[in-house]
């Protein structure tokens, strides 16, 4: 009898499963309506470094491999095949060979072959005549010697030296495969991909639309008939529109912590997930501009920072105080708080640090009556200005009298690149939660995106060293060593990594928001509408 009952239970459970399963079956059809926060620069993912482009246009393309769209974490274990069916390293760990899927067609009907892969990476490494107008992630591929094809469906990436997380670079939304036969100009205005959705129309400042690709190589997918992104630049207007049900989904990470309260109270059924945006708020101090060529002053400024106050103001305490890498639990490589607190300027007792900072400043001849007058430069956008205002307020405590200099947003990068600033407040986004991406892009001597032009040969050597280390635990220790050096040199003091929410109404199914990277989960192939 007990056995029978147990069996009955199992059967009942199974029955529930079976009954429940059809209810969960994906429905086809419908257009997903998402709002877009600003005017997207172009449709060419490889030429841009902004979620404004990746968000909508990722659905047009496929990668060789991709972070699993259904798993929250971007980690090497969650990389799944896309246009590559399989991949393998050679014994020396310098040759990565992908076997490609056959029978895949570009949206214009031409077949996809290994040539397309070769072309894409030739453009990324500047070996193609029709190269990109701008190539923001060139540094990702600095270790790539050449790409060779072996027939139509096999391609090999030859490296100069082993690189532990090379495959991760292929798994980002930033790394689609482009067709060889379409010019880079057309890719900006009328992109052709192999992905689940075809690009339909881009009405500047108004909308971008995509329609289902009926010949998608994943049979049965995508479920949606199309996706419509509508541009609403005014944040209050667009949040109101989401609450009023005009949209199924908000733009990625558009709902800040203070706004989240409003959305959840006005649209209580909406699903909102607050995740790290992997965009850091950081301080850039020009080491070439007097008096900041004196490390002591830079150190005093670092000691004056009250990171807790920043995150309390900017996000009601939700942002993560951090070093260079995103801290755990979402971040795979960042320092835990107890390690972080040992870095200069991260101590819990801010008053003590500030007293120390004031001593430094006094030793250099500054005082309450004779403060150091500086200009704090930042972009003329609220997300830059707000933390800059807090910075100025905090620097007052160590005899630094800061004046905010807002720089027109168009010339911000140009000015910083030319070194025309002394202290600035900056935001930096990281594409993949991997030290190779973050460290090479922002701190290596040769990177174009190394805004402060920080260059330390020892650090460069260490970055190369960690890149080759295949043992994750050992690599982490190396990364932390780099973190400590960067903190001592005050290369670009990171204040915090931000968090923001993305919201969608409950009828949007099959969507998983990644927790440690905002650029990688916009394929939309398995998203469907339960309406």
């Amino acid at each position: 009898m007990p056995l029978k009952r147990a069996l009955g239970c199992v059967l009942a459970t199974a029955a529930i499963c079976c009954v429940a399963a059809p209810a969960l079956a994906q429905k086809s059809g419908g257009t997903l309506r998402i709002y877009h926060r600003d005017n997207l620069p172009s449709g060419s993912i490889h030429e841009e470094a902004t979620i404004s482009t990746v968000g909508p246009f990722m659905s047009v393309f496929n990668n060789l491999v991709l972070y699993d769209q259904q798993k929250k974490l971007n980690s090497p274990d969650n990389i799944v095949p896309e246009l590559a069916e399989s991949w393998a390293w050679d014994a020396g760990k310098t040759k990565l060979t992908f076997k490609l899927r056959q029978g895949v067609k570009w949206h214009d009907g031409k077949p996809f072959t290994a040539k397309d892969v070769q072309c894409t990476w030739n453009k990324l490494t500047g070996k193609d005549n029709d190269d990109f107008r701008k190539n923001p992630r060139a540094i990702w591929w600095h270790n790539l010697k050449e790409v060779t094809v072996n027939g139509d469906y096999e391609v090999t990436f030859n490296l100069n030296r082993p690189q532990a997380s090379f495959l991760s670079l292929f798994a980002s939304g930033y790394t689609p495969v482009y067709p060889c036969h379409v010019s880079t100009k057309d890719m900006r205005t009328n992109p052709i991909g192999t992905g689940p959705f075809k690009f339909v129309e881009f009405k500047r400042g108004e909308s971008v639309t995509f329609a289902r690709n009926p010949d998608y190589w994943k049979k049965g997918e995508p479920y949606l008939d199309g996706i419509e992104w509508k541009v609403i630049e005014n944040r209050s207007t667009r949040i109101l529109a989401f609450v009023a049900g005009e949209f199924d989904m908000t733009f990625n990470a558009d709902v800040t912590v203070p706004l989240l309260k409003d959305v959840t109270s006005q649209a209580p059924k909406a699903i909102c997930e607050l995740v790290p945006t992997y965009v850091s708020t950081n301080l850039i101090i020009n080491p070439k501009a007097a008096p900041f060529n004196d490390l002591k002053i830079r150190k005093a400024m670092a000691l004056a920072l009250d990171r807790k106050a920043y995150v309390d103001i900017l996000s009601g305490g939700k942002d993560d105080i951090s070093g260079v890498m995103l801290p755990p639990p979402e971040g795979l490589w960042g320092m835990p708080p107890e390690e972080l607190q040992k870095l200069p300027g991260y101590a819990a007792d801010v008053e003590k640090s500030r007293a120390e900072a004031r001593k430094i400043m006094e030793s250099l001849g500054y005082s309450e009556a004779k403060p150091l007058k500086i200009k704090v430069s930042t972009r003329n956008i609220a997300i830059y200005r707000d933390p800059a205002v807090i910075l100025i307020d905090q620097l007052k405590k160590i005899y630094v009298d800061g004046e905010l200099e807002v720089i027109d947003t168009s010339i911000w990068h140009a000015k910083v690149t030319r070194g025309e600033y002394s202290v600035g407040l900056n935001l930096t986004g990281v594409g993949v939660d991997d030290p190779d991406v973050n460290l090479y892009e922002n701190y290596s001597c040769n990177s174009e995106r190394n805004l402060t032009q920080y260059c330390n040969k020892d650090v460069d050597a260490l970055i190369d060293k960690q890149s080759q280390e295949t043992d994750t635990a050992k690599r982490k220790q190396l990364v932390w060593e780099i973190e400590r050096k960067l903190a001592e040199d005050l290369a670009r003091p990171i204040i915090s990594y931000g968090r923001a929410a993305t919201c969608w109404h409950p009828h949007v199914k099959g969507f998983v928001l990644h927790a440690n990277g905002i650029y990688n989960n916009w394929r939309f192939e398995d998203v469907w509408l339960d309406k």
């Binding site: 470094a49 667009r238 109101l240 027109d408 930096t428 995106r449």
Partner: protein, 315 residues
């Protein structure tokens, strides 16, 4: 009259020419150009690649050459290519005009519909409580920032109706379109109606002090008939003026309103294009606005002649 017309037309051309030089020079004073913007979304600047793009777009040419090629293009009806979308500028500008035009017309209708009757009422009941109340209301219309009013309206709609009156393209229904546009039109038109009302009132008062009204009254015409018929007919002239001027001025008000209500019209597009340093768009759009303003002024002046036989333009 003939020579006057020719003179006016010539002056219009001179003004527009001056405008073209002014806007061209001012745009080039704006810090940063399109290449900076193009690089902004990549988060870095590569000087060599930047130079290359500048060459592609002809930005490395001397400013005079650039100006001449723009103007000669204009003469041929070629507005050049938009930098950002890499499409012909005309394809970007033309589809946005009807929306703004509809909005402007609706706002004008709104301002006349409210402004004129309230202005007459206020004048007829001069110095009564009603007059004071209407004057205060009209003054407040001139005092509210229109984007603030727009925000409050949006907030109110979402709060009370759970619905947001922002623009949707291709709703398919003319009446639906009209309903959607009438809310932002009211937000813009509030200000214009205040202007129209003030002007109607003052010109009504002026006319009512004139002799023939007194005569009409003396002849026994009943009060309201005199007021509404005689006076209004004569007060209409200055009202036409203000409506003409306001039609052009509306474009200013539309910039912020189109932003708040997310209407994809030319006014908002101008701000966007300035932000993107998209010279071909800004130059041509500014010229378009200038032409609208200049031509409107001209039409208003001509209407004067038609409406008021006492005015004659002669050399």
């Amino acid at each position: 009259m003939g020579t006057y017309l020719i003179r006016r037309l010539l002056l219009m051309v001179v003004t527009l020419f001056g405008m073209s030089v002014l806007i061209f020079v001012m745009l080039r004073l704006v810090p940063g150009n399109i290449t900076d913007i193009i690089f902004d979304s990549a988060g870095f600047v590569n000087p060599a690649a930047k130079k290359k793009i500048e060459r592609e777009l002809g930005l490395d040419q001397p400013i005079v050459t650039q100006y001449v090629s723009w103007i000669s293009g204009l003469a041929r009806g070629d507005l050049g290519y938009a930098y950002v979308s890499e499409k012909p500028a005309i394809e970007e500008i033309l589809p946005r005009i009807p929306v703004t035009a509809k909005l402007a017309v609706l706002a004008l209708v709104f301002s006349v519909l409210f402004g004129v009757p309230l202005g007459v009422m206020s004048a007829v009941r001069q110095n009564t409580a009603l007059d004071y109340a209407l004057r205060v209301v009209s003054l407040s219309g001139l005092s509210l920032p229109s984007f603030w009013l727009g925000l409050l309206i949006l907030m109110a709609f979402v709060h009370w109706f759970g619905w947001i009156p922002i623009y949707k393209s291709n709703t398919g229904s003319f009446w639906h379109d009209l309903a959607l546009l009438s809310i932002p039109a009211a937000a813009v038109g509030f200000r214009s109606s205040a202007l129209v009302m003030r002007l109607t009132r003052s010109s009504m008062l002026e006319v009512m002090r004139q002799d023939y009204i007194r005569t009409a009254r003396a002849k026994g015409a009943s009060d309201p008939a005199v007021n509404y018929d005689h006076a209004l007919r004569n007060a209409v002239l200055p009202v036409v003026t203000i409506i003409g001027i306001e039609a052009a001025f509306l474009i200013g008000g539309l910039i912020v309103t189109e932003t708040v209500f997310n209407i994809p019209g030319v006014a908002r597009f101008l701000v966007e294009a300035i932000r993107w340093r998209d010279y071909p768009i800004v130059q041509n759009l500014v010229m378009f606005i200038a032409i609208v303003v200049v031509v409107t002024n001209f039409i208003v002046d001509m209407l004067y002649v038609v409406l008021d036989p006492r005015i004659k333009y002669e050399e």
